[in-house]
């Protein structure tokens, strides 16, 4: 089935490429559990494109990060092709809402997603160096490490964000590749079960948890750089002197402030794509902070980011009638 989908993708990209500036997708890497982003301009490279449970990167950010952000698009520029999963498509919608990209600038290849594998979870079960290949079969991931094939339950190896996924199918697309996927969650409670579990703990315990988690932060800013909606990049206020919100001092207060500035800047914008947590080299569950804000947004304002390109995010508008909030 995956083979069919891949062939369909290659065929569709081949047809579309002459009209495209470039195609952004995933390619296999040396590691069977991970893929790498690939930027394709010529037909010869199309065969590199792949899809499947290891395509974990959200590629939407490449459309708006420097140098893409610095140079305004030329009026006659061709659209850019991009592969998106359900969660990635919401990032695109959010970027369209905020007018960072226009809809006609992108050709969207939508890929229904059955969940992405967090290779770090696999590594806890089997040494990564031994893994020869891995395939998804039904509800399990089958690992070939030269011995007896190891069957791992998907619930154990999928990325945390995938377990409560409500939107596995792209919410915006030009073409769709493969069969529609079934959502793993259909309720707020299931999507935000980790937030609820955290909320149930006493305040001191929560504080202690975040102090110990954030203490590991090395302020590498990978979470910020990977976030498709963190568009300030090298103008980020955690690195400027004017204004000088943060010093380079290494301490928990600075790390707290950085992560909470990041979260507050995403309030009402975060689509929960989980990139920040995926790229964290220190395994800090940083998406959880944003999930808490997303939950508040849904409960208080009935708003989920990245679903409707025409919607105005509630925190990005001035409405004098909103006196009740």
């Amino acid at each position: 089935m995956l083979e069919n989908d891949r062939n369909q993708l290659h065929k569709l990209v081949e047809e579309a490429l002459p009209e495209l500036d470039m195609m952004i997708g995933w390619a296999e890497s040396c590691d069977p559990l991970q893929t790498t982003p690939v930027f394709i301009r010529d037909a010869k490279s199309i065969s590199k494109l792949t899809l499947g449970p290891f395509c974990s990167q959200n590629l939407a950010g490449y459309l708006v990060k420097p140098p893409a952000l610095d140079a305004p698009p030329k009026p006659d520029a061709k659209p850019i092709g991009i592969c998106v999963k359900g969660c990635d498509s919401r990032s695109l919608v959010a970027l369209i809402q905020e007018k960072f990209i226009t809809r006609d600038r992108v050709r969207i290849f939508g890929i229904p997603c059955r969940g992405t594998v967090d290779f770090r979870k696999v590594a806890q079960r089997v040494p990564l160096a031994n893994v020869k290949s891995a395939t998804m079969e039904g509800d399990s991931l089958v690992i070939d490490d030269s011995g007896t094939p190891l069957r791992l339950d998907l619930e154990e190896v999928l990325a945390r964000k995938c377990l409560g996924c409500r939107y596995p199918n792209p919410v915006i697309q030009d073409v769709v590749i493969g069969q529609e996927a079934k959502p793993r969650s259909s309720s707020l409670a299931a999507t935000y079960r980790d937030v609820a579990a955290m909320d149930a703990k006493p305040l001191e315990e929560r504080l202690a948890f975040w102090q110990s988690e954030l203490d590991r932060c090395i302020r590498c800013y990978a979470c910020r750089n990977a976030c498709p909606l963190c568009v300030c990049q090298d103008r980020c206020i955690v690195e400027t002197r004017e204004p000088r919100w943060l010093t380079q001092r290494v301490g928990i207060p600075e790390k707290f402030l950085f992560h909470f500035i990041h979260a507050m800047h995403l309030a009402g914008r975060c689509t929960g794509c989980g990139e920040c947590e995926r790229v964290c080299p220190m395994d800090i569950p940083v998406t959880l902070i944003k999930e808490k804000l997303n939950k508040i947004m849904e409960e208080m304002l009935g708003y989920s980011a990245g679903l409707d390109p025409e919607a105005v995010p509630p925190l990005l508008t001035f409405n004098p009638g909103e006196t009740e909030i």
């Binding site: 952000l69 305004p72 905020e98 300030c232 204004p243 990005l316 001035f318």
Partner: protein, 652 residues
């Protein structure tokens, strides 16, 4: 930076609970502080001279005064440091009176908090920059919103002073509630006789442009330079042609239209001029009742009109006016008494409101000035007045006193006796509020000369018995239950804010209280100013008011406008937002959230877009700064670094 700190005793206001000498001595130890002292009254002439002397003697580059609220004396001290040669923004104020000495008695804790506040002010001052205002021309035209007596007074006063006035009134006539009144207290002079000439003046003054049947669509700009869009509502009559002859009214076959001017006591024609003295005297078609506009064959008015003014195809039009100042005089509305089930909730036809009774008393009213009751047209002999209907009643969300009802009940009771000498009037009241000049004497006259029976107590129930109504209440002075059989009951419905007051306030960007009354800038010292420069208040839009107070406020607001218009140029406020283009990522969020439309795109070479603040439109609210992710927009004099410096000092 060389900083001087001046701690004010404010007599005993501050020194009573704060050790000001200790605050000064501790301040002297702060970095950059080269001089610190305390003083009896820093705002006094010698107090200001002390600051100016110290600036010279110690070469101060910045000054901190720890005293009262900056709302009180910041302008005073800014002027003082400016006179001594400093930029006036190299000054900070720490509020150790309202925020410290007035709210706590613990001298030690107060002193500690005062020291903290001074340290924060010093911390901020280190990051202050000199700021400079520019000059903007003043457009010497005035917009008056509302054509009631307060608005009329303001417009006439300004027009007399040579100011061009634009008046907008949403009804088809000016005169407001006063035009509906029969007589006015406490002199019993005829309302339309004293108001009429003023209304005529409005229409005849060459420098007053009147837009009746019009509403404010939008307001942009700032003091000295407002742009106002006015929606002229569809009247279906070309007012330029209409002569007010009234021929259309006579022939109009739709006779069952709502008579708003007579408060629903009679009926009107679908094409109508509400009363003979109406200004402007122009007809308007009520689309709800017009036959032609409801798809029936008619058009009688169009045939009869001698000047062919009828236009069934008419649409709303928008006109734009540019003005330099605005007076809001939008008046009030009356409480809807139907929430009171015990008073019949509007179901009993002979339970009427005070304003309906005014129309009954009026010679130009629905009954030609004869007192009759609406149900059967009989002359009443027993009349009950009930005060505080929708006033001083927390349970209906109206805890305030409407201020005028006690007086108009007394007036109506007196007039009733004049009209019907055989009648008996009863007034159920909670307290009698008659604090104006000759007011209490007037109420006494009602009681003593006119035999009006005042019963202190509330009415519990009104119900029908035969063709009369039984009013059951308590006489709390005698401690007994009383029952009056009445032919007519008049409810003194209270004053509430004008419908749509909130929406207009949003357009004017002025604040309003929970009841919709507009907030004055200071309840005692700035009663007709708002916190938006160039916008003034007159009349009952600011709170319940009688005619003399409304007229006085109209004149007061007019004098404020004229003192503004005495200047050709005004200084702009430099405390506005400014974009650091290097940091701007062109996300446009500031443009999206700016409530004033003060931010726009600017294109640099190579088509790179950046946000740009229009300093003359910016009101310095800071929403853009809060929204900007890289904080490229900074509010001058409240920059992130200045505020962070304060926070750091507080946490130090």
């Amino acid at each position: 930076m060389r900083i001087g700190v001046f701690v004010c005793n404010c007599g005993t206001n501050i020194a009573g609970t704060v050790d000001t000498a200790k605050v000064a001595s501790e301040a002297l130890a702060f970095a950059d502080v080269v001089y610190a002292t305390n003083y009896m009254y820093t705002c006094s002439e010698p107090g200001q001279q002390e600051i100016q002397r110290a600036i010279g003697e110690y070469g101060l580059q910045g000054v901190v005064v720890a005293a009262c609220s900056p709302r009180m004396h910041e302008p005073t001290f800014r002027r003082a440091v400016e006179k001594a040669g400093l930029n006036k923004y190299m000054f900070e104020m720490a509020n150790i009176r309202e925020h410290v000495s007035w709210i706590g008695n613990d001298r030690e804790a107060n002193t500690r908090k005062a020291v903290d506040l001074v340290r924060m002010a010093v911390g901020k001052l280190r990051f202050n920059q000199p700021l400079f205002s520019s000059k903007m021309p003043v457009n010497k035209r005035l917009l008056v919103i509302g054509g009631g007596v307060a608005g009329i007074q303001a417009a006439l006063d300004c027009a007399d002073g040579g100011v061009d006035v634009v008046m907008v009134e949403r009804k088809q006539y000016i005169g407001g509630k006063m035009a509906q009144l029969d007589k006015t207290f406490p002199t019993i002079d005829c309302s339309s006789c004293i108001l009429g000439p003023k209304m005529v003046d409005v229409s005849q003054k060459e420098n007053i442009t009147l837009y009746a049947a019009s509403e404010i669509e939008s307001i942009s700009g700032y003091i000295g330079n407002f742009t106002v869009e006015i929606r002229k509502k569809t009247t279906y009559v070309n007012w330029d042609a209409c002569t007010g002859c009234g021929a259309c009214m006579e022939k109009c076959p739709a006779k069952k239209a709502e008579d708003y001017f007579n408060e629903g006591l009679g009926t009107a024609r679908a094409i109508n001029i509400p009363f003979p003295q109406a200004i402007p005297k122009k007809a308007v078609i009520d689309a709800q009742f017009c036959r032609q506009l409801n798809g029936k064959k008619c058009g009688v008015c169009a045939k009869i009109c001698p000047v062919k003014a009828i236009d069934f195809e008419m649409k709303d039009t928008i006109v734009t006016e540019k003005v330099g100042a605005i007076i809001a005089a939008t008046g009030y509305d009356l409480f809807d008494h139907s929430v009171y089930g015990e008073y019949g909730a509007g179901r009993l036809p002979d339970v009427i409101t005070g304003i309906q009774y005014e129309r009954i008393l009026s010679a130009s009213g629905p009954y030609g000035g004869h007192i009759r009751r609406p149900s059967d047209g009989k002359e009443p002999t027993e009349i009950v007045f009930i005060s505080c209907v929708g006033s001083r009643d927390q349970s209906v969300g109206r805890p305030y006193c409407s201020g005028v009802c006690c007086m108009y009940i007394a007036k109506q009771a007196i007039l009733t006796r004049d009209h019907l000498p055989e009648s008996n009037s009863y007034v159920f009241y909670m307290d009698i509020r008659a604090p104006g000049k000759n007011y209490d004497e007037f109420v006494r006259r009602a009681q003593e000369e006119y035999g009006v029976q005042y019963i202190r107590g509330r009415v519990g129930k009104i119900y029908q018995r035969g063709d009369r109504m039984v009013v059951q209440g308590a006489d709390t002075l005698l401690g007994v239950q009383v029952e009056v059989e009445a032919d007519l009951v008049v409810l003194a419905t209270g004053v509430e804010s004008s419908s749509g007051a909130g929406e207009l306030a949003e357009k004017l960007r002025i604040s309003y209280d929970q009841y919709g009354f507009y907030m004055e800038s200071h309840p005692k010292l700035r009663p007709v100013e708002t916190n938006t420069a160039g916008v003034y208040l007159a009349g009952a839009c600011q709170g319940p008011k009688d005619i003399p107070s409304s007229v006085a406020q109209g004149s007061a607001a007019a004098s404020k406008v004229q003192s503004l218009f005495a200047h050709d140029m005004i200084e702009t406020n430099p405390q506005v937002a400014l974009v650091n283009e290097r940091n701007c990522i062109a996300c446009g969020k500031c443009i999206q959230v700016c409530p004033f439309g003060a931010i726009q795109w600017k294109e640099l070479r190579g088509g790179i877009k950046k946000a740009e603040v229009l300093p003359s439109v910016c009101q310095g609210c800071g929403v853009c700064n809060a929204t900007c992710p890289p904080k490229a927009v900074q509010l001058q004099h409240a920059t992130d670094n200045q505020i962070l410096a304060e926070v750091n000092e507080l946490c130090a």
